[in-house]
């Protein structure tokens, strides 16, 4: 008989582009976003894991409530990472659908489509400039209902997810915008502070030991010395930042899995031997 094989851990990462976009895109193959880097980290610790990332650019938590059942229910992950709230802080006024349409990654080329896209882009830039001016002049957090709705939606989503064998749920803290986003969206920093408070409130309201706030900015602090930014494109992490997040995530996941009897493995102590799948 062959050697018994361990049951892989199941980790689901849901969220917006924060999860899967790298500053900058198009880099080498080893530029992993944090879900894949987490998988590599867990494998390096001898724990087989399937990390599924279903994040979509510009996805809001209200969409997560619509698609969670298909993504989560039958697969029944051991850990769910929720990285929401970012898109809700970006635009002051412009609607999500127009943003998705203007930056669509599913557009086709063609004699009418291509010129239309050129016009659309100019129109979008005009609207973005108007929004930028308004964001400077008006109180940036005047739409107070938005974080409140995110909070309520996220609480509902977590309650639903908890039905499925009480997985570990990690609510990710958002990182303040980098220079390009601060210029385009002047009030985004303030909106993000309010949103992070709402995310903390989600964890407080849920009040379960297996629903935790993940302190992303504490994890990234060593990478933010001086003028260094972890999101040079304004809103998305560098490969180094993704890796730092993944290291801490893997530790937290492993600690939970050990506590719940899902694995007996431990992370290697030597940091040099951690992500063997992503050589320096």
């Amino acid at each position: 008989m062959s050697e018994p094989l361990p049951l892989p851990l199941r980790v689901l990462v849901k969220g917006a582009s924060t999860v899967h976009t790298v500053s900058w895109m198009g880099g080498p193959r080893r530029d992993f976003a944090y879900p894949r880097a987490t998988e590599a980290q867990l494998y390096a610790a001898g724990v087989p894991a399937e990390v599924r990332c279903t994040a979509m650019a510009s996805q809001r938590v209200k969409t997560a409530l619509k698609n969670w059942e298909v993504e989560t229910f039958s697969w029944s992950p051991d850990v769910v990472v929720l990285n929401y709230g970012h898109f809700e802080t970006v635009h002051f006024l412009l609607p999500q659908r127009l943003e998705r349409h203007a930056h669509s990654m599913a557009d086709r080329p063609g004699p009418i489509r291509t010129p239309y896209r050129i016009v659309l882009r100019k129109f979008w830039k005009l609207l973005a400039r108007i929004q930028q001016q308004l964001d400077r002049r008006l109180p940036s957090t005047m739409l107070r209902n938005r974080p409140r709705r995110v909070e309520n939606d996220l609480v509902r989503l977590i309650e639903r997810i908890q039905m499925i064998g009480s997985p570990l749920v990690l609510v990710m803290e958002l990182t303040p915008p980098g220079a390009p986003f601060r210029n385009w969206f002047p009030g985004m920093g303030e909106r993000m502070e309010v949103m992070n408070q709402a995310l903390r409130e989600v964890v407080r309201r849920t009040d379960k030991p297996n629903v935790r706030f993940f302190e992303t900015n504490t994890v990234l602090a060593p990478l933010m010395q001086g003028d260094e930014e972890v999101n040079p494109d304004g809103g998305h992490y560098t490969p180094e930042a993704h890796r730092a997040i993944a290291e801490r995530l893997a530790e937290e996941i492993l600690e939970f899995a050990r506590q719940e009897g899902l694995t007996k493995a431990e992370l290697p102590d030597d940091p040099a031997h951690r992500i063997t799948a992503v050589p320096d």
Partner: protein, 266 residues
Amino acid sequence: MAVARHAPLRVLVKGSSPANWVSFMGGAPTDFTYPRVVERELLLTGRPVMVRNLAATSERVKTGIKNWERQVFAWSPDVVVLNYGLFEAVHLFLPQPLERHVNSLRGRPGAVRDTYRRFALRPTWKTLAVAQQKADARVPAAVFKRRAARFADDLERLVRRIRFISSPLVLLPEIPGPGERWATWFPHIGERITMVNDAMAEVVSRVDSDTVRLFDTGAALAPLVATGHDIVPDGGHYTPEAHDAIGRAMAREIATWCDEHVPLSG
């Protein structure tokens, strides 16, 4: 040089809530449904395996025919478990879209939405459910025959389509009788489940192939039932212990079939 490994066996589970729901939900992270138990047990035999569970609550076999191509064709699993039939047997006349809407797990919170659900939708649903309960007690179970026949035709079509992809092992798990709670809410559900199980047996006999089999859920659960364990305390869904027993028995059946048809050395 890297060590040669075997490609994982592929197991797909399609169906409704018996494959993804636990009596009761919200338990410990080790409360696995049977597809994950199958994965664990096959891994313990040293056989690499990938189990996909695409069951959806309240899914009927007619939906299974619609989505099978996307879910099954390209992935080409070695084993397909079709756990259909429970939802078809539950309601006498209440429509599935209404049931899904009332018991939706995707509803957002909000003052208007919560009020609608609490004061309009739920009372209406309860009234309809009570009316259905009364009708179910009076109407003979034989009126379900037509639905059972359609279920058999749809399931046969689905099985034949799936067999077209290199003849995987197809398992049709029998549905156990209802628990006390469901037997009260749906008085003739027991007879309807029997008709659904007969329809599955009919499909197996019509297809007449060694690779299309009924999975004897009753035999898998018998040792547990003998201890006095209520396998469906919520009325229709298995306890973690029942899922475990089914998963172990199913893994044994899959392993035996795969030893012959999908050998590790192949």
